[in-house]
């Protein structure tokens, strides 16, 4: 992102929230099928982005935390007297995918559904504090694509077919997914790549530390020295001019 003055913002803490709400009369195509994995970015349900999330050449991403709607039992869903579904428990899990590789595996080393909203809830509440902490974080380097895919295990389509509800008001949330990540851009992404090759954890602190180290070891450029000399000279000339006008100028044999 380039700001008004032409400055580039380099390290930014970013987040993305995916949400799916009802839209009145139930239309099957508006909601994902239970048990099927769907992308939060390009899945076609709820809010989505225009392209697959690929890290560009000058970017480096560190995924810090992910979470989704908690709750398991479909019995805790609520239907109003008129058949409107006012609360839905999605019973969802989320998997993180880089390229074609899933982050979560089950204990037999097979691609799994991921982490549940019970372990990593979003939003968090005192009834459901997170057990899961994504540490160490996930690094995504340039030209890699990344995705978060959710699965609902409570069957909204089946519940409608059984006559459990007739409509879903727009205020009813069907599911949420949240991801928090740090975006390193420009020169910071180069530093992040260098730290990665050195085996150093990539955090905001470590990138800033390395940047300071580089500046300290390299010293100031010749151009910078020239700039400071010229500025100092201009300041001195201006100071002399003002002192002359005020009659405060002292005799200097060197001038």
């Amino acid at each position: 992102m380039v700001l008004k003055g032409g400055f580039k913002m380099t390290i930014r803490s970013q987040m993305y929230e995916w949400e799916l709400f009802g839209n009145g009369a139930f239309v099957a195509g508006d909601f994902p099928v239970a048990g099927r994995e769907v992308s939060i970015f390009t899945g076609g349900f709820g809010n989505f982005v225009n392209e697959v999330s690929m890290v560009r050449d000058t970017e480096f991403i560190v995924i810090n935390q992910i979470g989704c709607t908690p709750g398991v039992s479909p019995q805790e869903s609520i239907v109003s007297g008129g058949g409107a579904l006012t609360k839905w428990i999605p019973n969802m899990l989320i998997q993180f995918v880089i390229g074609t590789t899933g982050y979560y595996r089950d204990p037999q080393n097979v691609y799994s559904s991921g982490v549940s909203g019970m372990a990593s809830p979003y939003p968090k509440s005192i009834q459901d504090l997170p057990y899961y902490d994504l540490w160490p974080p996930i690094y995504i380097i340039s030209n890699q694509t990344w995705d978060i895919r959710y699965k609902f295990f409570n069957d909204l389509h089946g519940a409608f077919d059984d006559g459990y509800f007739t409509s879903i008001p727009p205020s009813t949330n069907i599911g949420r997914v949240w991801v928090n990540y740090t975006l390193f851009n420009g020169t910071d992404s180069l530093i992040a790549n260098r730290l990665l090759s050195l085996g150093i954890p990539i955090t905001i602190d470590s990138v800033e530390w390395f940047r300071k180290l580089l500046l300290k070891s390299k010293g100031l450029e010749t151009d910078t020295f020239k700039f400071y000399l010229r500025t100092a000279q201009e300041y001195r000339d201006e100071d002399n001019r003002v002192n002359n006008l005020l009659g405060l100028k002292r005799y200097n044999p060197n001038e």
């Binding site: 908690p70 398991v72 019995q75 805790e76 869903s77 089950d106 204990p107 019970m118 057990y131």
Partner: protein, 220 residues
Amino acid sequence: MRRQVYEWRNIMPTGEDNILNSYPILKPNNVHTIALKQGVAIDIFIGGVGNNIDIPAALKATQYIVIDAIAVWPQNLAAQIYVNTSRYFQDPDRNPTEGITGNVVPFPNGNSGIINYDFKNGLKPPVYVIPNQTWGIEVTPLADITEKTGADVTDANIAFCFVKYLLIDGADALVAKKLMEFGWDITAENIQRYKQDLVRFNMIAGMAEMDELDGLERRV
């Protein structure tokens, strides 16, 4: 290194007891929780109750696992970690117990107002599982947990067991082995630190293939 999780539940569609390699698809008014009998241990991976996997959890030759958190629900359900034939939790007389209960490590944290306070940072020290070992978790009810149906199937009435572990694979597993030989804790931080030091020492010794950083490293 990857932070992995596994979550077991005893909720199933009406008339079913078990599903492999996934979670069951549930619908309102068509669910039940499976009764668990007092004192009868159930393996959360291969116990035949709730969601399971095909085979016991075993590590490959290039894998280490650090089990760093476990949680269970309801309060009268206990969880015991086992590695091969050894059990983690034991009585003062050295006999294995049923394990840690939902009173101490409730799942989810805060269920029915009970907070995991004493193990909020997980097991200290954690449990290490080394290559070619088999591990798992057994849950044992301290009292009968009855079947729930219909409106009684609430999250507070579902039995859960959750385990969080660090899966160390490939080159990191070699570092983990070294750390274990030195008597260091195997943590994500220590593995990163070891790799970092390894690179640094190689650079100082002039063995690293990073010539352009030589000058910089001397100044560090």
